[in-house]
Each structure stands twice: as structure tokens, then as C-alpha cells.
């Protein structure tokens, strides 16, 4: 008889705990319900070949992603969060054992050149995706996005939104260390 009241009470507490957990996770930024899971995780990078933006030497194609562990950053000069994460990419580019490349998404070459001249260029190669068509092949829906690829150019990880020190420390660096082995 007592059970009739205990079971609903337990269910209610569990439900409440679930709500509180989700709220806290969203508020602290650990979880974003708007984040779209990548359809390409575990799949090889899409085939593409992009020229370098004007003023840069090295373009970017699928072949350039093979043989090395790669951090591919989707960015644009018009995107404020890209500028926020920029110093972290510069830091990352100094490290050994992987390459940092850029997919310049729906940008203007001159604006990009002016920005990177001023703040520094972390990218070994940059592909100019002026129409955004290659971005669509990658499933990009906003800048910045960061992809980690293994030596076989397989997509291992995607991060949507700007990188932070915490994300580098907890997600990106451990993954890179594992892939470098």
C-alpha cells in the first residue's frame, strides 16, 4: 500500500533530477541542444580541391590531408568567434606532430589577407571556399568549426563553435596525442 506513494515519488524525483542536470549542463556550456552531430564522423574526408586565397601560397585538397594528423579549421574573417579562437590556433600551430590547415568559408580574399597579416597566420595551407560548396560537402553550418583527421584523412572529431583553452586541454590535445602515436 505504501508502495503506491513511494513509486510515483521516486519517479518524480528522478524526472526532476534529469531536468536539473540538463539545465546545468546547458547553462555551463557543456551541452548545446542546437549542436548538430556530424554525419561524417568516422568517414573519409570528402573529395575536394581548393585554390589558395589570393596572397597565399598553398591551397588545400583531400590529398593534402593524407599522411599526417590534421586539425582543419573552418573560419572566415567576418566571423567574430573565429577571431576569439585565433590565438589558440596560433598556439596549436607551433606544436609538432600534426598540421593545422584552414578552410576559408564564404570569405573575401582581401579581408582574409588583411586579418591574417595583422594577427598572424596559423595555417600551413588554406583552401578558399568562396561559394561555400565545399563547406556543404563537409556538413559545415557555421563558422568556426574544427575537425580532427587521422593519417588516412578520416574524420575523427568535430567541434562546433570557437575553441577554448578547456576544449583544447580536455578534447583536442588528448585526441591529437592519441592519433600521433
Amino acid at each position: 500500500m505504501r508502495l503506491r506513494f513511494v513509486i510515483p515519488a521516486i519517479l518524480f524525483v528522478l524526472l526532476g533530477a534529469g531536468f536539473v542536470y540538463a539545465l546545468v549542463a546547458i547553462q555551463s556550456g557543456r551541452k548545446d541542444p542546437g549542436t548538430v552531430p556530424s554525419a561524417l564522423l568516422g568517414k573519409p574526408a570528402p573529395e575536394f580541391a581548393l585554390p589558395a586565397p589570393e596572397g597565399f601560397a598553398q591551397g588545400l585538397s583531400t590529398a593534402d590531408l593524407k599522411g599526417k594528423v590534421t586539425v582543419l579549421n573552418v573560419f572566415a574573417s567576418w566571423c567574430p568567434p573565429c577571431r576569439v579562437e585565433h590565438p589558440l590556433l596560433l598556439e596549436l600551430a607551433k606544436e609538432e606532430g600534426f598540421q593545422v590547415v584552414g578552410l576559408n568559408w564564404k570569405d573575401k580574399d582581401d579581408k582574409l589577407a588583411a586579418w591574417l597579416k595583422e594577427d598572424g597566420n596559423p595555417f600551413a595551407r588554406i583552401g578558399a571556399d568562396r561559394s561555400g560548396r565545399v563547406g556543404i560537402d563537409w556538413g559545415v553550418y557555421g563558422a568556426p568549426e574544427t575537425y580532427i583527421l587521422d593519417r588516412d584523412a578520416r574524420i575523427v572529431h568535430r567541434h562546433v563553435g570557437p575553441l577554448t583553452k578547456e576544449i583544447l586541454r580536455d578534447e583536442i590535445r588528448p585526441l591529437l596525442a592519441k592519433l600521433r602515436k
Binding site: G34, V36, P37, S38, A39, L40, P46, K106, S131, G132, R133, I136, D137, W138, G139, Y141, G142
Partner: protein, 167 residues
């Protein structure tokens, strides 16, 4: 007055289809192909403003995807192939109507399961109640006497006939 209101309402309703974000330069010259394209883009979620379809959204990415879908159709893709092309890149999340598969069973069948569960629960409860005695056991003469003493009445015959409602 009423006529004016009705006219206003009618005009608002007539303007509803015009809310689509599609620009004139995107529209295909072939009306049949264009109709198919509209049908497809209405089913695809804009990933920038996630509760709008790419047909409704003004986001640049939605425009790119509208053009992409039209290119696929012009290239001879069937509707399903054009949708699959976008899904291969953005995942099931681009479909405003999620597909039925193991990971979406809870989503599709959860509400019906809860409703059914509630109905079964209720049915069991009602059945159990019917099985239980409808009324407490009648008082024995001793108890009846006590009760009558308490309320100050002479003992009545047990189970008095129910008062009849006037016909």
C-alpha cells in the same frame, strides 16, 4: 465592417505563401521541377535557424542549399536522391520529419506507448475495483442498536428500501 475584416483576413491568408524566403533568381524556369524543388526544400531543416525549413529561411546557408537541391534536380536526381544527397552531408537532423529507425522509436512510438500504458493501467484499476465488495458488510443487530442509541432513533429495519425518484 464584417466584409472589410473578411477581406483583410483573406488578404493575409493569400500572403502566407509569400513568406517563403526564395528569391526570384533561384526559381527554376521549369514549373514542374520548381514545384518538386519547393516540396523538397520544405522538408529540409535550416541548420542556422533550426526551426525553419530552408524554404522559409533567409540564412545564406539556406539559400546555398536551395540552389544545391535545384542543381541536383536539374542533374536528373529523383526527389529521394536529392534529399539523400543533403542527408549524407548533414545527417538525419536536416530532415524536419525524422525517419523511423531504432534510434527514433522512442520519439515516434513513445507517446502512443505512454497512452496505451495509461489505458491498460486504468483498465486494470477499474477491473480490480469492480471485484472488491461494493459496500461494507451490513451491521449486525448489536451494532445497529448501538448506532441507533448514538443518533437517538428507534432501530430501523436493515437495508431500508431506497427512496424512489418521482416518476
Amino acid at each position: 465592417m464584417i466584409r472589410r475584416v473578411a477581406l483583410a483576413l483573406l488578404l493575409v491568408l493569400a500572403a502566407l505563401p509569400a513568406q517563403a524566403a526564395i528569391a526570384p533568381d533561384e526559381i527554376l524556369p521549369d514549373p514542374a521541377l520548381e514545384a518538386r524543388a519547393r516540396g523538397i526544400t520544405k522538408q529540409l531543416r535550416c541548420l542556422v535557424c533550426q526551426n525553419q525549413s530552408i524554404d522559409d529561411s533567409n540564412a545564406p546557408l539556406a539559400r546555398d542549399l536551395r540552389i544545391l537541391v535545384r542543381e541536383r534536380l536539374k542533374a536528373g536526381d529523383s526527389d529521394a536522391a536529392a534529399i539523400a544527397y543533403v542527408v549524407a552531408r548533414y545527417g538525419d537532423f536536416v530532415l524536419l520529419r525524422p525517419p523511423i529507425k531504432a534510434t527514433t522509436w522512442v520519439l515516434w512510438f513513445g507517446p502512443a506507448a505512454i497512452l496505451l500504458g495509461g489505458a491498460v493501467f486504468l483498465w486494470l484499476r477499474v477491473r480490480r475495483r469492480k471485484g472488491a465488495p461494493a459496500a461494507p458488510a451490513p451491521l449486525d443487530p448489536e451494532e445497529q442498536k448501538k448506532l441507533s442509541a448514538l443518533v437517538g432513533e428507534t432501530p430501523r429495519p436493515q437495508a431500508p428500501p431506497r427512496p424512489q425518484a418521482a416518476p
